[in-house]
């Protein structure tokens, strides 16, 4: 980007403290017209706090913000929007039962006007959709749209307000690889039109792919600024976590006995599939989101019973299949949806930790909970699994994504289970937490557990799996051993090649 491009956003010494914690420590940077700046940092590094200050949700303790040379009044969301800042949040702020048009027009016309001018809104949305390649039907209800389409609506909302600075908070966390590609193309078009974009992420690959410049935040401080062209993933990762991340050391697999065997299993859009999981091996399931991964995970975790076919655990046919039966069979579960399924946000860390085992003699006696035993257990898991939380009695919703996942790992892995289902175990986690999850899964493999790893992150699958199946439209490819297929060959299978339905 030309150095001549004017500065649209300038932060000077922005500082925010929460009690003893300094969430943002004298952060200064400039954003220029027509560039994409990636804001890289682990969870808790202060990215979200910084953006919340821009949007007036928090008041900074020190520092100032200027938009196009004019100071931005602190603590005023409306002023930030009026100044041309717009943010696409990780959790979309859309009303599901309302139309695309209504969501976009919300708050853009004088509140006391006697009539909502739908015609004008419709014309502008159509025009912008065409201009920026953001195709979406303005009359459609949000509830009927895919996640990718919803994100387009969020971007249209920003453009409709004539935003000049667009901030995207982990925009690809919820997207399929194709949708991410489409998003990146859109972002390039937007900067070509003179917008400036802040791209918040902790995925190094996409930061390298999409940004012109990278700002790295660590523990509230701006620790580095690099032109993307002059750096690489490894250097960025080091800056981000402050030390070189050890690459997982993966020894040769020591295949043990067959622990899970599925033959011709069909259930809810899945199958028929054959799948065998052996002790001491990680079996990876690669595939584009929505190809039956969820159903496969549900079958193994017991929330979905097979409609046909046989499921055998450690050589014995599974009888009446239910979540309790799966637990009793020794299957540890790391579910895909942490917030919705993995934990109960309003219950305490302790209660969440014993949620699967509260009936065990260790935690209850004749229907009465043993509170001290559960608390001791919770303290131990918190320590052993490095769960950062205010204490065992804190509600689980206060935990960050990474710590919530550590809590779930602790609950699932503490009893040294023989069979482990890890469904999207690192989605939305930062580099440090990802490395932690991987290390724990490899540890389980080393002690002879069978791990089923379902992930949409192909790098993760390739790095960890001893065998890889590709899932496509509910069917599994035959397994390939570690290193047998290249990433391109796996990619071709993910697109359906080699399956009967491809013909």
């Amino acid at each position: 980007m030309g150095q001549a491009a004017p500065v649209v956003l300038r932060l000077e010494g922005v500082t925010k403290r929460f009690g003893p914690l300094t969430a943002n420590d004298a952060i200064s940077f400039e954003l220029r017209r027509g560039e994409v700046v990636a804001l890289l940092g682990e969870n808790g590094a202060g990215k979200t706090t910084l953006m919340s200050i821009l949007f007036g949700h928090y008041l900074a303790d020190a520092g100032r913000v200027e938009v196009e040379g004019r100071p931005l009044p602190p603590g005023d969301t409306r002023a930030a929007l009026a100044a041309g800042l717009a943010m696409v949040h990780q959790h979309f702020t859309l009303a599901d039962s309302m139309s695309v048009l209504e969501n976009i027009a919300l708050g853009t016309q004088p509140l006391w006007a006697p009539r909502l001018d739908r015609g004008r809104a419709l014309a502008r949305i159509r025009e912008m959709s065409a201009d920026f390649g953001l195709e979406v039907d303005p009359a459609a209800r949000i509830a009927d749209l895919s996640v990718g389409e919803r994100q387009r609506v969020e971007i249209l909302k920003a453009l409709y307000r004539e935003a000049r600075v667009l901030i995207l908070d982990e925009p690809t966390a919820v997207l399929t690889p194709q949708e991410s590609e489409a998003l990146f193309a859109t972002l390039r078009r937007l900067v070509a039109r003179g917008l400036a974009i802040i791209f918040i992420s902790h995925k190094l690959g996409e930061v390298m792919a999409v940004s012109d410049r990278v700002l790295v935040l660590r523990a509230g401080r701006l620790v580095g600024e690099r032109a993307t062209a002059d750096t690489d993933r490894h250097a960025l990762a080091e800056l981000m976590v402050g030390a070189e991340i050890p690459r997982p050391d993966i020894g040769p697999a020591q295949p043990g006995p067959m622990l899970v065997e599925m033959k011709g299993v069909t259930a809810g859009g899945l199958g028929p599939v054959d799948l065998a999981l052996r002790g001491g091996e990680i079996t990876g399931i690669a595939g584009v989101s929505g190809n039956g991964q969820a159903a496969l995970a549900e079958v193994l975790s017991g929330t979905l019973a097979p409609q046909a076919g046989t499921l055998a655990i450690e050589g014995r046919a599974a009888g009446a299949w239910s979540p309790r039966a799966a637990l009793a069979a020794g299957i540890a579960r790391v579910p895909e949806d942490r917030h919705g399924v993995g934990v109960i946000g309003d219950m305490s860390v302790t209660e969440n930790l014993v949620a699967e085992a509260y009936r065990a003699p260790a935690f209850s006696r004749r229907g009465w909970m043993k509170r001290p035993a559960t608390r001791d257990f919770a303290r131990r898991v918190i320590r052993d699994y490095e769960v950062k939380c205010p204490g065992p009695e804190a509600p689980a919703r206060l935990l960050s994504g990474g710590n919530m996942q550590k809590l779930i790992l602790g609950r699932a892995l503490d009893g040294e289970p023989r069979i482990i289902l890890a469904s999207q175990p690192t989605r939305g986690l930062d580099v440090g937490a990802v490395a932690y999850v991987h290390a724990r899964l490899l540890e389980a493999r080393a002690r002879g557990a069978a791990v089923l790893l379902i992930s949409e992150d192909l790098d993760e699958i390739m790095a960890l799996s001893d065998r890889i199946h590709v899932i496509s439209r509910g069917r599994l490819s035959p397994p390939s051993a570690r290193g047998e297929l290249s990433i391109r060959e796996i990619g071709a299978r993910m697109a359906g090649l080699g399956f009967d339905h491809a013909a």
């Binding site: 949700h57 949040h89 959790h91 702020t93 009303a95 039962s97 209504e102 919300l106 009539r115 909502l116």
Partner: protein
């Protein structure tokens, strides 16, 4: 049996149905506005009592009829602001607060009545709204008298339904109000205040409830007595569900309930003593429950209904 059917073809039956429906129309619209913004208002029953008294007492003290309606509305808005204050910025349980408001408004009204009129034994009367026939239209069979020979207060109820429908679906304010009930984060992200919108909606909705109460003392009857609201507020809560949170359907629901109620009174006359009259009194409620079951199973309620909004909470 023929006599029971003939009731349906008398003008007086339809006139009564619409008259009985009128207070329900106001109060149902009021509840609908609150719920569309995400706040359940169980204060409705008590607010109707307060409105019934406030309107009537204004006229009894020498005010004119429309002033009475305005005072009732203001009284309702005041209780609405109290309910809003407790449930919106403070985020208290909407169920518990609403029931509290009902108890408070009812007792406060009875207390005020006793203070204002310590001497009376039989309820004093006022000069209530009179029917206003609209020329030509009122001459149509059945529909004419039912819709065009009512009091101006009833015409106001229909106007209010049209106005609320316009507000909700055709104005930027209505869009903001619905968004507050669907996803408050969407509203806040667009720079609007969830607190302001919800408070406004609860105050306005409560004003409508109180006007519904005032209809009882100023149009349906001409005096105030205890227990006169008699569960109408609770019926309106059900009517909102019956109407799937839509003003037009809610209006139809209110008229349907009015028809059930008018019908049971007349049916008592036809059947006589063969069946205890309590069975007939029960009839509109039984029919309402059945209608509710039939209609509202697929209704989609406002997603953020009864969910307090706290800014910036995860």
């Amino acid at each position: 049996m023929a006599a029971a059917l003939e009731i349906l073809f008398t003008a007086s039956f339809w006139v009564a149905a619409v008259r009985i429906a009128s207070p329900l129309i106001f109060a149902t619209l009021g509840e609908l506005i609150c719920e569309r913004a995400g706040v359940l208002n169980l204060g409705i029953e008590g607010i109707m009592v307060a409105g019934a008294f406030a309107g009537w007492f204004t006229v009894y003290s020498g005010g004119d009829l429309w002033t009475g309606v305005a005072v009732a509305a203001l009284t309702g808005a005041a209780f609405g602001l109290l309910h809003g204050l407790l449930t919106v910025p403070l985020g208290l349980s909407q169920h518990v607060t609403g029931i509290g408001i009902t108890l408070l408004a009812t007792s406060l009204t009875y207390y005020t009545y006793r203070l204002a009129l310590p001497e009376v034994t039989s309820p004093p009367k006022i000069e209530a709204f009179r029917p206003l026939e609209i020329p030509l239209l009122a001459d149509m069979p059945l529909v004419g008298p039912a819709l065009f020979a009512q009091t101006p207060f009833t015409y106001l109820a229909f106007a209010a339904a049209a106005l609320v429908a316009w507000l909700l679906y055709r104005t930027p304010l209505g869009l903001a109000l619905r968004a507050a009930g669907e996803n408050p984060d969407a509203l806040e992200a667009q720079g609007l205040s969830v607190t302001a919108i919800r408070m406004g909606a609860v105050a306005a909705g409560s004003a409508l409830m109180a006007v519904g109460g005032a209809f009882l003392t100023m149009s349906a009857f001409n005096s105030f007595f205890f227990e006169m609201v008699n569960g109408r507020g609770w019926v309106c809560i059900a009517l909102v569900v019956f109407g799937s949170w839509r003003p037009g359907k809610a209006l139809l629901g209110a008229i349907l309930f009015g028809a059930f109620d008018a019908y049971q009174v007349r049916l008592q006359g036809v059947v006589g003593d063969a069946v205890p009259y309590q069975v007939f009194l029960m009839l509109p409620y039984v029919l309402s429950i059945l209608a509710l079951v039939a209609v509202s199973r697929r209704a989609s309620y406002p997603k953020a209904l009864m969910v307090p909004y706290r800014k910036g909470e995860r």
